[in-house]
Subunit: 299 residues, 2 copies
């Protein structure tokens, strides 16, 4: 393995391990009442996923020289919003999935009412974390962090994207509509992760704009690659029912523009993301490595 | 009608009308994409209820001389959290109610997935509102407003209370457990409404503590009275299926301590609330009137 790649993987593993500890510390203990709800919140959040959003927050924090203790909290808030969205998205009235990352989904492991409340309470906890710890040099900037996350999670962001997705089932979606859906559904929270990481430190308006461009490109790339992986992958390697989107007749990048063009598009978006980082030098190297990782990943 | 009562009712009617306008303005228009989600968010929030929490926020704002424009936003945020909780609480996996305030519940009028997302997006919007408008003299105090609402809504507050309620079905709950449930389920958000209204203006630590005491008493009184009303009322007057809690074998104040003692308890809590306001004089008169209104209300 090349040294640069080994270095990146060590960094990534370090952030992932740290996030596991941070989330375990910030989630209410399963011994605290209401115990079953807290246990289910921990089940939904811990030992899960690649922590892509926290990785992006930490990488962006390197651009602004942010203190690790701040980025940890901001990243945990973003990850809790993400975790809540998965719990609700898996419920029978939504995607009706029984497996997530190889484990029974929350409503299967517990019950639907608990899954509903786990999601609701994780969302509240995210905003509690963003407001009860000192995270930015100015309280006013920290309020902007709250606003950024709230807007990214809400009806003009992630939740809105979920609804566009629902409405799209059975319809013939065009490429602009598909893009609109993904900008809401995935892109908004990816962008929030990057900006929140940046906001934990000191930065110029130019840096903020560059990271915003980076985040928009990488957010879309993330979804294009997901569609490609979903098309390719088997249930065993993804830990969820692969190919499900296309079987339900939902539009994907692959179904709309074909596999070769979807791969090309992911590559173009990766190039856009890298271009946005061009002048930022070494502090942006983790963001640059993550752009490659997100597009070239093999699970 | 006595002059004082007419004055209070005019004030209450004014706040209710204003809140309808404020909520209508702060909710995304039904013409904005995703249109059906936004329409459902408006359906869930507008033309609904007595706006008890906004009334408490406005009344508390009078104690701190808060600007109306600030209290409106804070009250709207609290009301959106309340509205989301009703939408989720009515869903089939929770209380499975088909009527709310005489109208079909959101999952009946739309569908379950939309109801789920309406609740999720209303919660996000509440925190967006609290962070994007200037609401307190200091940004640091405004962060405390975010924290107060998030904690009140989360697993140690309202969502936790819902889960305690779920777990209690079919069990024999004692009075301490019933009280614990209500402190979480209703009391936390009542308290948040009072504190957020206060935080919009200038106040002393002593005033804060008095209003906190007031809010705790009134939050519990609210639930005791609800149990009494639920026992008494017919479906027609409440607009929901009356007597449902007791039919499902859930513990209520009436089932645990009997109707006369429940009425006495409500009266004791009202006296506690009034005692907490004793030194605050005329600025606290709306809070005082609301304590009477909450305990003595007849719908």
């Amino acid at each position: 393995m090349p040294a640069a790649k080994a270095d990146f993987q060590a960094w990534m593993g370090g952030v992932q391990a740290r996030m596991e500890n941070v989330l375990a510390r910030l989630l209410p203990a399963a011994s605290i009442a209401p115990a079953r709800l807290h246990e289910a919140m921990r089940y939904a959040t811990l030992e899960g996923g690649k922590r892509v959003r926290p990785l992006l927050a930490f990488a962006a924090g390197e651009v602004s020289g942010a203190a690790r203790e701040r980025v940890e909290i901001a990243a945990a808030a973003v990850e809790m919003i993400h975790a809540y969205s998965l719990v609700h998205d898996d419920m029978p009235c939504m995607d009706d999935d029984v497996l997530r990352r190889g484990k029974p989904t929350v409503h299967v492991q517990y019950d639907q009412a608990t899954a509903l409340l786990v999601g609701d309470a994780l969302q509240s906890l995210a905003f509690q974390l963003l407001s009860e710890h000192p995270l930015a040099d100015q309280p006013r900037l920290q309020l902007e962090m709250v606003k950024t996350l709230a807007a990214a999670a809400g009806s003009r962001g992630m939740a809105g994207g979920q609804h566009i997705d629902l409405d799209a089932t059975g319809k013939t979606l065009g490429l602009p509509e598909l893009e609109l859906m993904h900008i809401h559904k995935t892109g908004a929270m990816i962008r929030a992760a990057v900006l929140l990481g940046l906001f934990c430190g000191r930065f110029s308006e130019a840096e903020r704009q560059k990271l915003d461009k980076y985040a928009k490109a990488i957010g879309l790339a993330f979804q294009v690659v997901d569609d490609v992986l979903d098309y390719d992958a088997s249930t065993a390697t993804l830990g969820k029912t692969a190919g499900k989107d296309s079987r339900q007749g939902k539009a994907t990048y692959v179904s709309l523009i074909g596999l070769p063009r979807a791969r090309e598009l992911a590559e173009e978006l990766r190039a856009q993301a890298q271009a946005a980082l061009a002048d930022l030098g070494r502090p942006a190297r983790r963001l640059s490595e993550l752009a490659d990782f997100i597009v070239l990943r093999k699970f």
